[in-house]
Symmetry: C2
Subunit: 267 residues, 2 copies
């Protein structure tokens, strides 16, 4: 069982990815895909006159401030556009994909984090009315029901709160939680970088192996969204996943290459 | 087993609908929801600088010309926004909804109709590059798998072609096909009119009963989108569905009222 997270970032086509999924599925691998959609959300929300508003938390993580209007745009883009275009490409290659969001069948339950504590212009601020959250529980029943019946789940990064509110959740953390809940052998985090770079953005500084007892060093080296990947990797390993590979989505056969050790292997 | 189609038309909130679904589910009814999203697609596509282009076929039916860009906006709106907001409202009311489109798990297979024969300014024309189609087969396996495991399916009007192309399909026809495939007792088509009006738009001209042998008269009286509802009703009755009720979505308990005979009952 392999869980693969693919970004919705700029410059990532899904052609190579979906071909690789089809090849691996034919060889008998069980794959669950989790995807993002951040870049496409920026494009659409800007076109709709609602440009994205990114904030940095007091603990140094960047995230999208998600008011209700932004939540609905985010849901539209990730669960409607990115998810269905992935399903279409997989279906074209013979993979019987079923696209879901974490709200469907309460696949991902989480707590809404309505108040964000951020740093802006060097000052601490409190932002209210946010519709994002952290996934806390995975309904593995629905995922295994689909897998056992020959369907390949493709999961968009939404969750549902206990009160039934739709939430924007981080796709890397979602992938880590899903991999943990499914006791996956491997979690692969694909994006538009070759892996963790010790000297970002120098591609020659790729960290090939990161032992789990040195994850703190990795977190120090990580820039921007890579921080969340390292955090996700840490959570997945703590949860019993065998290894986590952070690898490049922009190459042919990206999953197979990651499985062959190209990228940053964390175990 | 009841199949309910709810429009995505202007002025239809989902509050009353989802409350009614929750109440009926608690009483033991098995419900499958199919929804549209045409109005919201018009709003979003116009905001994105791609206003909708409606055409009238040579046989007199109105439809959206769906080039590839429009298809992706349509998919985004129906499978991302309308579908997930419905799922959210159902989850808030205790219904464990799973939102799907007809492309997921090949739920709805159809043929792409790439060429449209239309009438514009009194002249016959041929339009190419359309991404719509007619649903032809329903994968009841996925729907019953979900129902049997306690999930309530909510279906967005997309289908998948044999070649794996995403297609825009008519939600009324989809609901009719799903009702037929599931051998539903009742198909309810809700929208922002009280039913079939003999003298459109006079609400006092509501046709309360339409025997199936007089469907042709109904088709003559029907205006605009009502034509497709009558056609869908005809297909469902031919397919073995017990009765079809065309009713008002804008009232409290719209499904229960339709079941009690408010609207146009066709059998």
């Amino acid at each position: 069982m392999i869980v693969v997270k693919v970004g919705g970032g700029e410059g990532i086509g899904f052609g190579a990815l979906t071909e690789d999924v089809a090849a691996l599925a034919q060889q008998g691998s069980q794959l669950v895909l989790v995807h993002g959609g951040s870049h496409e959300t920026n494009v659409i929300s800007t076109a709709l006159g609602k440009p994205p508003h990114f904030v940095t938390s007091v603990s140094g993580y960047e995230s999208r401030f998600t008011d209700r209007e932004t939540l609905e745009i985010f849901a539209m883009v990730v669960a409607g556009k990115v998810n269905k275009l992935l399903v279409e490409q997989l279906q074209q290659k013979g993979v019987n994909a079923v696209g879901l969001s974490g709200a469907d069948g309460r696949l991902l339950e989480g707590k809404r984090k309505e108040v964000l504590k951020i740093v802006e212009d060097g000052k601490r601020k409190v932002l209210r009315g946010d519709w994002s959250g952290m996934p806390e529980r995975v309904n593995t029943g629905l995922i295994t029901l689909l897998l056992q019946n020959g369907y390949s789940p493709v999961i968009a990064p939404l969750a549902i709160s206990d009160a039934g509110e739709l939430l924007n959740v981080d796709a890397d953390r979602v992938a880590a939680m899903v991999a943990t809940a499914l006791r996956a052998d491997t979690l692969i985090l694909l994006s538009n970088v070759p892996g963790l770079l010790a000297k970002f953005p120098d591609p020659n500084s790729l960290v090939r192996q990161l032992p789990r007892n040195r994850l703190e060093d990795g977190l120090q080296a990580a820039q921007g969204r890579m921080k969340k990947k390292i955090l996700g990797a840490s959570e997945a390993l703590d949860g019993g996943v065998g290894k986590v590979i952070i690898a490049d989505a922009r190459v042919a056969s990206p999953i197979s290459k990651a499985l062959a050790g190209e990228g940053t292997v964390i175990q």
